[in-house]
Structure formats: structure tokens, C-alpha cells
């Protein structure tokens, strides 16, 4: 297993490199003079000169890329102009809040989504299946930001159970304690989870239906395993092999959806930071944020692959 993890890590290197190239090329698309575009209203001659020097903008494209990449490898993601602090510090701090939100809703949508899919498959065409299918359809059709707003209206405004916003960040970063954070987390994590939950439930249902037709399921029945064991032990274990990669993909969707949810609930996460940075034309912050989060996402997918390999002994590790 150790060597498999190492192998996957090594294979991630070109992916991360390619990713930096893509981000670099997108940023190089900026029409007109990049320094002026970055600085906008602050484009004094001194500032333009400083940016050009900072970014090596007087150099040809490949050279600029290597200069940028070298500084990234040294942990230097540049300085945010709008916040006047190192990009790396800001992104890392914000990312933890996003990780908390996305992580919590990822756990919720994975567990509930798979469970809903299993129940739906086990009761194919029954009432539970129909109810779940409808809920799933609703889940994948509703804009998560609208759902979040409705949750606020119901659970914050009408019932007063949870706060609509005001999350300060994590405790050691100056936020509230566990109870406070958890209290703030419930609504946004739920809103974020519901959408991905639909997709996961759908795929789990079809994966289960596929597995339930296999010969080894008939064998389990012939042994006298009861239906609960057939569905939740035999079928689910086999279905997980095709569900886990989908969970990995959905993590990307959860992370993406967090951008909207962070705005709705004023969550101090990396998504809101990126949107603000775009509106402020703080492109170094955007660039750094995208590279860092995408890299972490690649690492997360390696973890998914490793889990997959542990689940399925047929995968050569």
C-alpha cells in the first residue's frame, strides 16, 4: 500500500504542473497591459513598474512561467494588493474555513446520499423509491444559493434555531468555540450537501441495481443470507467500488458549490475571498488561490484512489 501511495503521489506531479500552466495561461489572456489591468485605478507609473518587475512581465511567456513557478515552489505566491498581506497566508486561513464547510457537507451528502440510493434501489418502484427519486430531482434542480436563502428564512428568521451568518472563523484564528462554530455550520453545510446528495443518491441507486443482478448476489441468497444482509452487506460493498470514485468527483462539486453558499451565509471561506478578489481585480490573490485549492483537490483525489484500492482487493497496489 505504501508504494501505491507513493506511486500515486509521483503521478500527481505532472498534473499539478499542468494545472499551474493552465492557470498561468488563463491569466496571460488578460487583454491589454496586465499591470494596468491588475492595478486598475492604482495604476501609477511606479506601481506599474513594480508589478512588471514583480511578475517579470517584461520577459517572454515561458520565462515568465518559470519565474512564477520557481517562486511558487519557494512558497512565494506574491502579495495581495487589496489585503496587503501574503497570498499564501490569506488563502491558507480562508481555506480552513472552506474545508470545514465543504468537509462537513461532504460527510453529510456521502452518508445520506449513499443510504438514500441503497434504500431507493432496495425498494425499487416502491413508495420510498419514488419519494427519494422526487427529492433527488428537486435537489439537483434547485440552485444551492436559493436553497440556502430559504433555509435562512425558515430556520433563522421564522424558527430562530440557527444564525443566518456571522461565522467568525476557526477558534484559534480568533473565532468562537466548537459549539459556536457548529451552530453556524448547520445551515450552510446542509444547503451545500443537499445538491450533491441528489447526484450521489442517483448514482448509488443505479450502482446498486447493477450489482443486485450479479450472480454472487444470487449466491448470497442461496446461502440463506437475509435480504438486509444481501442489500447492505453484499450489494453495498460491491457497489461502493463504483460509488467511491463518484464521491471523489462530487467533492469537487461540493467545493465548487461552497463558493455560492459562502456568499449566502457570509462564511469567511476561500470562495468568497476569490469572488471579492475578482471584483477588486486582485489577480495575484485569484491566481494563488486557484493554484493552491486545485492542488489540494488533486491530493484529495489521491486519497480517494487509495480508499478505492483498499476497498477492492482486485486493484493491484
Amino acid at each position: 500500500m505504501g508504494s501505491y501511495i507513493l506511486k500515486r503521489l509521483v503521478s500527481a506531479v505532472p498534473v499539478v504542473l499542468g494545472l499551474t500552466i493552465v492557470v498561468f495561461l488563463i491569466m496571460a489572456m488578460i487583454p491589454g497591459d496586465p499591470a494596468t489591468a491588475i492595478l486598475g485605478a492604482y495604476a501609477t507609473p511606479e506601481n506599474v513598474a513594480r508589478i512588471n518587475r514583480d511578475l517579470g512581465l517584461d520577459q517572454p511567456l515561458p520565462v515568465r512561467y518559470f519565474i512564477w513557478l520557481t517562486s511558487l515552489l519557494q512558497g512565494d505566491f506574491g502579495r495581495s494588493y487589496s489585503l496587503n498581506r501574503p497570498v499564501l497566508d490569506e488563502v491558507w486561513e480562508r481555506f480552513q474555513a472552506t474545508l470545514l464547510l465543504a468537509g462537513a457537507s461532504f460527510v453529510i451528502c456521502s452518508i445520506l446520499g449513499v443510504a438514500a440510493g441503497v434504500v431507493s434501489a432496495a425498494r425499487q418502484y416502491g413508495t420510498a423509491d419514488k419519494a427519494i427519486t422526487f427529492a433527488v430531482l428537486l435537489g439537483i434542480s434547485i440552485p444551492s444559493f436559493f436553497l440556502g436563502m430559504m433555509l435562512i428564512l425558515i430556520f433563522s428568521v421564522s424558527l430562530g434555531w440557527f444564525p443566518p451568518s456571522g461565522m467568525q472563523g476557526l477558534a484559534y484564528l480568533g473565532g468562537g468555540g466548537f459549539r459556536d462554530v457548529a451552530h453556524h455550520l448547520v445551515l450552510p453545510a446542509t444547503a451545500l450537501a443537499l445538491v450533491a446528495l441528489g447526484v450521489i443518491a442517483r448514482l448509488s441507486r443505479s450502482a446498486m441495481l447493477e450489482v443486485l443482478r450479479q450472480d454472487y448476489i444470487r449466491t448470497a441468497r442461496a446461502k440463506g443470507v437475509d435480504e438486509r444482509g444481501v442489500v447492505w452487506r453484499h450489494a453495498l460493498k460491491a457497489a461502493m467500488v463504483s460509488i467511491v470514485p463518484v464521491l471523489g468527483l462530487q467533492a469537487g462539486f461540493v467545493l465548487s458549490g461552497a463558493v455560492y453558499i459562502e456568499k449566502v451565509f457570509e462564511w469567511p471561506g476561500v470562495g468568497r475571498m476569490l469572488v471579492d478578489a475578482i471584483l477588486q481585480r486582485d489577480l495575484l490573490l485569484v491566481q494563488g488561490g486557484v493554484v493552491l485549492v486545485a492542488t489540494l483537490y488533486v491530493l484529495f483525489n489521491i486519497i480517494v484512489d487509495v480508499i478505492q484500492a483498499m476497498l477492492d482487493p482486485r486493484i493491484k497496489t
Binding site: Q124, F145, F146, H234, A238, Y297
Partner: protein
């Protein structure tokens, strides 16, 4: 046309389509509707509630009419969503077709790029593009289209690869057509349906995404309305004026939901598996729909079937897989059921414990007595308690029938523990003992192997060990040696033979191989088109087969070393069991068939366990019509249709 009809038959998809068309029509006629101008502010009536001051849906924080903004915004959101879907579909399809058609390095480079883009959480890419191009509706469109290109490229490439090597493409190449022409005239028409399906399942998603970017303030810019930016503004006054958020939110929901319903309908209509009902979940036990009373218990054996009938009911057709089978097996006895593929022998075996997949299988009549208790229609709990405990199965192809993700030890332990309350440790000790009994070498280490780590013969021994786990009375072996090579087959047969003697097991052995029957079985029942056509002791049947079918089946068995007799395949094919002929089902393939054979059902006639279902049997059977020996079975030249028939 059939596809359209199928979509229309799916009620939800139909409703989705209707709602979507209505919304689109509404958006199209918006400019001619008597509405307030969408951007006209009126500070005197800010945040009016529904219906106030002549504003049906109220006004927003600047006193603008929400109904007007909603309809104008719907126009924009629909246009942007569909536009980005079209752009993504066209560019993605172009990349996919080029990669799939040219293959090789082109394919490699393009797909690497696509993988790279798919490695991003899509919003990061969209944000990066908007950051570079600047906020704005067109830039949001570009961003959403760009992040969806990989999805199309991958799907279309997969389909194209399949088409690019078909004969008609090769023919076009040989005819000297250029690549561009081949792609446009040969490939594209075949790929279009896939593009349509992919687009119909993603356009809803793209509308959500463009609305999302506008919601974040990165898409449509004030004062122009689109549904996302309306929600973004509504969010700012959510707590004081929640009603402003309902219309745009619900409109997005309605649009996306109708698109998704329609898209699902299209996808299902094009999925052949769904049409055939092959995606249904098999129930815990076969459905029983027995007309009339259960036949009485005759007390002829530990397992006794009387008039067992099992059908497969598909939408329009009914396949009578088993048409009234009566059989019995005593303790210590081995009964062979022999027949060609599709003769109903496996379905007979699976019906015993209600293991025929249902839907589509239904047991429609007869009874199966296990130790005097009828299992047909027995409550599930009781049936489950019998499965694997009193009656155990051994299946063909143990690679498919053993669970791939559990060790063989765990599967054996489970087989024991579902019927006996023993500790894990005891069960494991028993499992080890079982593995030794079926002569698995190094059982101590093999117990922790996964099925894929074992050879075919070893796996089948595990299958047998699992069947023996609870000391059953009856073992039903459904072609257990078919997937194995000959030497392993012989070992498995001698193992079963020994176990039968040692434990007094009753074995029902299903096979298509008379050689195997001769080695193991005391008695044989020959099945054809869902019925028993002959039964008797193995020696009687091998020595003097009475049914023309049996005679020809025996003639199919190669003789080792002799080489005197040429093999004789049976001409023709068994009848389809949804269109069984009147009278004798074998008549169409029988060289002796006369008109009378095709008139009425022929009964199984005989006495003392020897019987034949033939009006003109080959050999004398007491209680059956007089023998009319036909010509000896002669070898026929191997022809293509015979090879097909044999397969």
C-alpha cells in the same frame, strides 16, 4: 419517431417538456407583453409586496417591477444557458471527434489536456476565466461553456472511437474520401444522438451555473436583470423583504427541473436496457402466481417437484421456461437433469428455493416439497431458513458466483453464521475444516484469499465447501463443472461422488454433458423446451434411449480413443419458449415425426421411474407406446448452421 413516442409515454418527461415549452414561449413573447420597463425605478414603491400598487409580483429595493424583471431575466438566463450548452457541445464534440477519429498521438495529447481541465473543481476554472476576462454576462457564458467542454469531449470521443473502426468508415477511406468529409458525412450523423443526450442532461446544469456566476456578481451587471443577479440582490435584503427572492428562485427551479425531467426521459428512451426491463431489481424470492391448488405431497423423496411451472413475463411476451416438471430425489441419490442451453434445467433448479430472478420470473404452478413442506409460496422467512441449510446450491462459474470483495473464509463463515448461532472463531474453525474436506491444499493460508487469487478448480471447491457448510439434505449443482477444464472437472466430480456416499446427500446435478451424467448420476431426466421428455436409470437411458431427442443427445458425446463413430449434432434449434408448437415440441427436429405428433400434447408415459414423452419411442418402455426404432443416427457434415446450433 419511436424515441419521441417513448419520451411522450414517460409522463414526467412529457410534463417537463410542456412546462419548458411554456416558459420558453413566455420568454419569447415578453417584449410584446404589457409590462413595466424592467429597469424603470420608482422610489415611491420600494419593496412592494405581491399584488401591491398594480405590481403582480411586487417591486424590488429600487421600486422596479419584479414580474417584468423576472420575465426579462428569464429570457437572458435561458439564452445564456442554452448558448453555453451549444458552445460547449459544439467545441467538445469537435475535440472528441478529432481525438476519437485520428487516435494515436492526437488523441493522447487532447485527452491529457481534457483530463487536466477535469482535474480542477470546475468553479475554480470558471472563476479564473472570469478573473482574466473581467466580470460580465458574456464572460460568464464563456467561462461556463469552457468548463463544460471536457464533459462533451470525453463522451463524444468514446463513441467516436467505437465508430471510427467500423466497416463503413473503412469503406469511405478506401473510396478515397478525405478526413473532413468522412467526419462530416460518416461520423457526425452517428454521433449526433449522443451529443443531444449529453446536452439535454447538462443544459439545466449550465443554467444553474450561469445564474450562480450572476448571483456572485460576476455575470450580468446592473441594472440588467437575469435570474441569478436578481437573487443576488434579493439576498441583500433577504430578512426584511424575503418575497423579492421567491420569483427568481422558483423560476430557476421550474426551468431546471423541467429540463432535467425531459433530459431523463430522453436518456431513458435511448437506453436499451431500460426498454427490456433488464434494470429491475430481483426480489428476495421468486414471485409466485399459482393458479389452482398445490398438488398433493406424494412422499417419493426428500425433494419432490410436482408439475412445477415457471415463466418469464416480459412486457409483451411470456416465456414458458419450465412447463410442468415432476421429479423426485431420495437421500443418497444423485439425479441428473440434462438438456441443451435454454431447455429450462437451470430455471427448474432455481425455482426450488425461489431463486429465479423476479421480475421477470414467476412460478405459475405446481409444488416443490422439501422434506414434505411446499416451498412454493412459502413465507420468505421460512424459505430463507431452508436456503443453504436444508437445500444448498453449487453454481457454474465460481468467479462470478463468489463475492469478489470478501475472502473465501469470510464467505464460508457467513454461510455458517446465517443459520447457526456460533462465535466467529468457531465458525472460522468450521470453515477451515470444510476447506480441508474439499481437499484445498494449504487451507490455513487459502482461507484468507480472495476468489480472484484462486484457480477455477479451487474456487469451485470453495463453492462446494460453502454448499456443505450446514450439512444440507439436498445439494443442487447447476453445471458446476462446465467452466472447468477436463482434469479439474474429473476431480470435482469424484469429490461430489465421495461426499454423497459419506454424507448420504441427495444431489440434483444439472448438466448438458452425458459423459458427466454417466460418471455420477443414478437416474437421469432429459429436458427439452421446458419439459421432461424422458427419465429413467442412467444405465437404462444410456443403453437404450427411448426418446429420439435423447438418442441424438447421446450421439453428440465424443468417445475417447475409439474414433469409430463420427459425432452427430442435432439439426435445427430448440423452439423459442414463447412460441411453443402444438403437440411434441421436438417434432420439428425429429426425423420420425408424423402428423399425429403435432396435434395434441404428448404425455410422459411409463412406470416405475422409467418414462418417455413420445408416441413412437426408439426403445421399449413399459407403459409407453410400442417402440418404433428409427434409423441409426448418422453423422452429418458439419455445416455452419449446425455449429451455430451447437453453440
Amino acid at each position: 419517431m419511436t424515441t419521441l413516442a417513448l419520451i411522450a409515454r414517460n409522463r414526467l418527461a412529457l410534463w417537463g417538456g410542456i412546462v419548458l415549452i411554456l416558459v420558453i414561449l413566455l420568454a419569447l413573447v415578453t417584449p410584446w407583453l404589457p409590462l413595466y420597463p424592467p429597469n424603470a425605478t420608482d422610489p415611491s414603491i420600494k419593496n412592494a409586496w405581491f399584488g401591491e400598487e398594480g405590481h403582480l409580483l411586487g417591486t424590488d429595493h429600487l421600486g422596479r417591477d419584479i414580474l417584468s424583471r423576472l420575465l426579462w431575466g428569464t429570457r437572458v438566463s435561458l439564452a445564456i444557458g442554452f448558448a453555453s450548452a451549444v458552445i460547449a457541445a459544439v467545441l467538445g464534440a469537435a475535440i472528441g471527434i478529432v481525438a476519437g477519429y485520428f487516435g494515436g498521438r492526437t488523441d493522447n495529447i487532447l485527452m491529457r489536456l481534457i483530463d487536466l481541465i477535469m482535474g480542477f473543481p470546475y468553479i475554480l476554472l470558471a472563476l479564473a476565466i472570469v478573473a482574466a476576462l473581467g466580470p460580465g454576462l458574456m464572460n460568464a457564458l464563456i467561462a461556463v461553456a469552457a468548463v463544460n467542454i471536457p464533459f462533451f469531449a470525453r463522451n463524444i470521443r468514446g463513441v467516436t472511437v467505437g465508430i471510427a473502426h467500423k466497416e463503413f468508415v473503412d469503406a469511405a477511406k478506401l473510396a478515397g474520401m478525405g478526413h473532413v468529409r468522412i467526419i462530416l458525412t460518416e461520423i457526425l450523423p452517428n454521433v449526433v444522438p449522443v451529443i443531444v443526450v449529453a446536452a439535454s442532461t447538462t443544459v439545466g446544469w449550465m443554467i444553474l451555473e450561469t445564474a450562480g456566476l450572476s448571483f456572485l456578481g460576476l455575470g450580468s451587471q446592473p441594472p440588467d436583470p437575469d435570474l441569478g443577479s436578481m437573487l443576488g440582490l434579493a439576498k441583500d435584503s433577504l430578512i426584511t423583504d424575503p418575497h423579492v427572492s421567491y420569483p427568481p428562485g422558483l423560476m430557476i427551479l421550474i426551468i431546471v427541473m423541467s429540463i432535467n425531467l425531459l433530459g431523463d426521459g430522453i436518456r431513458d428512451a435511448l437506453d436499451p436496457r431500460l426498454r427490456s426491463g433488464a434494470l429491475s431489481r430481483p426480489a428476495a424470492a421468486t414471485t409466485v402466481d399459482r393458479r389452482g391448488a398445490a398438488p398433493a405431497f406424494r412422499d417419493e423423496g426428500i425433494l419432490e417437484m410436482t408439475d412445477l411451472s415457471t415463466e418469464f413475463r416480459l412486457k409483451r411476451r411470456t416465456y414458458k421456461a419450465v412447463g410442468g416438471v415432476t421429479l423426485a430425489v431420495k437421500p443418497g441419490e444423485c439425479l441428473g437433469i440434462i438438456g441443451e442451453s435454454g431447455s429450462g434445467k437451470s430455471v427448474t433448479a432455481l425455482s426450488v428455493m425461489g431463486l429465479v430472478a423476479s421480475p421477470p420470473g414467476v412460478i405459475t404452478g405446481g409444488a416443490v416439497y422439501v422434506e414434505g413442506e411446499d416451498t412454493v409460496g412459502m413465507p420468505y422467512r421460512q424459505l430463507r431458513a431452508l436456503r443453504g441449510d436444508r437445500v444448498a446450491y453449487i453454481f457454474q462459474d465460481p468467479l462470478a458466483t463468489l463475492h469478489p470483495l470478501f475472502t473465501v473464509g469470510d464467505q464460508l463463515v457467513e454461510a455458517i453464521r446465517v443459520h447457526h448461532r456460533v462465535s466467529d472463531k468457531e465458525a472460522r474453525a468450521k470453515a477451515l475444516e470444510l476447506l480441508k474436506q474439499v481437499r484445498i491444499p494449504n487451507a490455513e493460508s487459502r482461507i484468507d484469499s480472495y476468489p480472484h487469487e484462486m484457480s477455477g478448480g479451487m474456487r469451485q471447491r470453495v463453492g462446494i465447501a460453502m454448499a456443505l457448510a450446514n450439512d444440507p439434505e439436498v445439494i443442487i449443482a447447476d453445471e458446476p463443472t462446465t467452466a472447468l477444464d477436463v482434469t479439474v472437472q474429473a476431480q470435482i466430480l469424484s469429490l461430489l461422488s465421495d461426499l454423497r456416499r459419506e454424507r448420504g446427500l441427495a444431489i440434483v446435478f444439472i448438466t448438458h454433458d452425458f459423459g458427466v451424467v454417466a460418471q455420477l448420476c443414478d437416474r437421469v431426466a432429459v429436458m427439452y423446451a421446458g419439459r421432461i421428455v424422458e427419465e429413467g436409470s442412467t444405465s437404462d437411458i444410456l443403453r437404450s434411449p427411448a426418446h429420439p431427442y435423447t438418442k441424438r443427445l447421446i450421439a453428440c458425446v465424443p468417445e475417447l480413443g475409439e474414433g469409430k463413430r463420427a459425432l452427430a449434432a442435432i439439426p435445427g434449434l430448440p423452439p423459442a419458449v414463447d412460441r411453443l408448437p402444438d403437440g411434441c415440441h421436438f417434432a420439428d427436429r425429429c426425423p420420425k415425426a408424423r402428423d399425429v405428433c403435432r396435434q395434441d400434447d404428448v404425455a410422459l408415459m411409463g412406470q416405475g421411474g422409467r418414462a418417455v414423452r413420445c408416441l413412437f419411442p426408439e426403445a421399449e418402455v413399459p407403459g409407453a407406446p410400442e417402440a418404433v426404432p428409427g434409423p441409426p443416427v448418422e453423422a452429418e457434415p458439419i455445416t455452419a448452421d449446425r455449429v451455430e446450433a451447437a453453440q
